[in-house]
Symmetry: C2
Subunit: 357 residues, 2 copies
């Protein structure tokens, strides 16, 4: 990378999302006197009788959890989208109000997936084998909703930590299926398709080659996956994890070995994250892949990848705020992705919590 970018303010382009990010490398010296997050404690019990996700406990809707042994999937008691609701067709007239007040109905279903019966185990605490079971659960759900529902997309995502709006430390992710393709995967799909038409190759395959050559933003790598702080990263320690094979969805992982490699890269990244500030590192994470149904071109243009979006900037308590300028003008970051990648790459893959014990 041109080293002048370590010093000057500049913008970088995200070809996957199609937007620009303002980078201010010189701004890290800013003193911080604002809000601080509480560092996460290490002292959760293995079972919490008050937790609505622990095995055998009652949920607020009244249902009782089974005595599950690995993962546990159920329909969210407070789903953001519903399966059974009236249809909605907005009036398609030519007047200004139907032009400016457009709406369309959305049907869908929201699932919660507990990663483990243990109340105190995050992905970083779990074994490769245990994480593999989580991946198998994602695969089964993808297959199930693809075969048995009319929905178009499934967004699997995890909110981890209080500062990322997570209301229960018992590790879990969510999967929202919807009758439409949501904004973010739609924007990525659009750009993947355009790139393919123009260059007759896959944007993420090409990006993989570039990053493996440059070696400036690599965080971790194994035979199946590459994790980088992408050139266009917005969050301070954001990573993009790209499948080395150009698979379209997680059903195209082949056999146990592929799943294990996936589990391993998840384990490595979440462990490095926790080691960075010796805290249970908060983030939002999500998988982008082919729609459940779509055209052949929509399927072919995809390339499975996942995004980790962690807010912490300088310590376990000081995060980056995406506020005024970011919301109203343009995403902005302080440290460069190269600096972030160097720090993450150097970190151990032994979890600090285990060393301390």
């Amino acid at each position: 990378m041109d080293s002048v970018l370590d010093d000057i303010s500049h913008r970088r382009y995200n070809p996957l999302r199609g937007n620009w990010i303002l980078v201010s490398p010189h701004r890290t010296k800013r003193p911080w006197r604002g809000q601080e997050e509480s560092p996460s404690g290490n002292t959760l019990p293995e079972y919490d009788p008050g937790c609505y996700l622990c095995p055998r406990n009652k949920r607020s809707g009244g249902a009782q959890n089974p005595d599950y042994q690995d993962t546990f999937t159920f329909v969210n008691d407070f789903s953001a989208v519903k399966e059974d609701q009236d249809d909605y067709e907005s009036a398609k007239s030519e007047d200004k109000s139907s032009l400016l007040l457009q709406a369309e109905g959305v049907k869908g279903k929201c699932y919660v997936i507990c990663f483990s019966p243990a109340h105190n185990k995050t992905l970083a605490d779990m074994s490769i084998k245990e994480i593999s079971v989580v991946i198998n659960t994602w695969q089964n759900l993808y297959r199930d909703v693809q075969q048995n529902t009319p929905f178009r997309y499934i967004q699997i995502f995890e909110n981890k930590g209080e500062s990322m709006g997570c209301s229960n430390p018992h590790a879990h992710c969510q999967a929202w299926t919807t009758s439409h393709l949501p904004e973010e995967p739609a924007a990525e799909l659009h750009n993947l398709i355009e790139y393919r038409r123009k260059h007759n190759s896959c944007l993420l395959c090409d990006y993989l080659v570039v990053e493996l050559e440059k070696k400036e933003r690599i965080v971790a790598e194994n035979d199946g996956w590459l994790a980088v702080c992408p050139w266009w990263a917005f969050w301070p320690f954001e990573t993009l994890v790209i499948s080395k094979r150009c698979i379209k969805n997680i059903l195209e992982l082949e056999g146990e070995r592929d799943v294990e490699l996936f589990a391993e890269i998840i384990s490595v990244i979440t462990t490095k994250y926790d080691n960075l500030f010796e805290t249970k590192f908060p983030y939002s994470m999500g998988i982008h892949q082919a729609p459940l149904r779509g055209t052949d071109e929509e399927h072919a243009a995809n390339h499975v990848h996942f995004h980790f979006l962690p807010p912490l900037l300088r310590s376990a308590t000081v995060k980056k705020f995406q506020v005024g300028y970011e919301l109203l003008a343009e995403p902005q970051r302080d440290i460069t992705p190269e600096q972030a990648a160097r720090r993450l790459q150097a970190l151990s893959t032994d979890l600090y919590r285990n060393r301390l014990e």
Copy 2:
């Protein structure tokens, strides 16, 4: 509005920004056990010797503030963009790495504007006259950078409250000028121009008419301005404040009366916000207007408006998190904009803090 939208999940289109927002009206009953914000205290002193924004105090850069009497503008000691830096031209070759690793240099200048010498006065506490001086300061800055710098855009914005990343309760806003047009105003400008070409009228003028007719989302109104929870609002109590005259930038406000009307609508909204949960309501706020320089079409397509983006959802301590699904798939909201507008409209314009005294 079709009342079925009060009950079903649906998406609404934002024609100004060009994106969709998922609305889940039935989801408000969700219990909350996650992070809570600390309600803001009411007990700030009028002068704080430790505050780097109070008159006569030293800032961390070493400069000393003057004994200012109304507003005070200075260049941010930790600016995100700089005026003096090397030029940067990225290599314009045809290979994949210059295609995928694009950057461009950004020059600019960041200002801080204190609203008042009083450490404990927010916009809601200030008189119409005092707010008018703030507006005059914005006008002077816009004129000054337009005449004396080469920059293309000025983004005036305020981050208020700890949860919006504000590190000092002494009321102030910021103005970042940049050599480029940032993403958000660029996207709006694009849509304003397209709308104008297609319909031969102004999107926001047309939207004004629709909202004044429907009367379903109005929060406040005076002779100069309309404040609504827009059809496509994303944040729970988001408001869009639109100038009734189609002015292109804040320099086109005519005379004292225009400025007073502007000050009044700011006062009404910030007061209603504070009254909603009887707290110093956090938000990010920003003004969108014509670029400092651009084509005639770019100038003509604009219509001055400002966005208030407040995070609180249910009380002074429970906010809406824009996390996993929102970041990775699509913006999502719980209460409808119509419900939010009804609550805000009903609120008094007498500040609760003054009633309590």
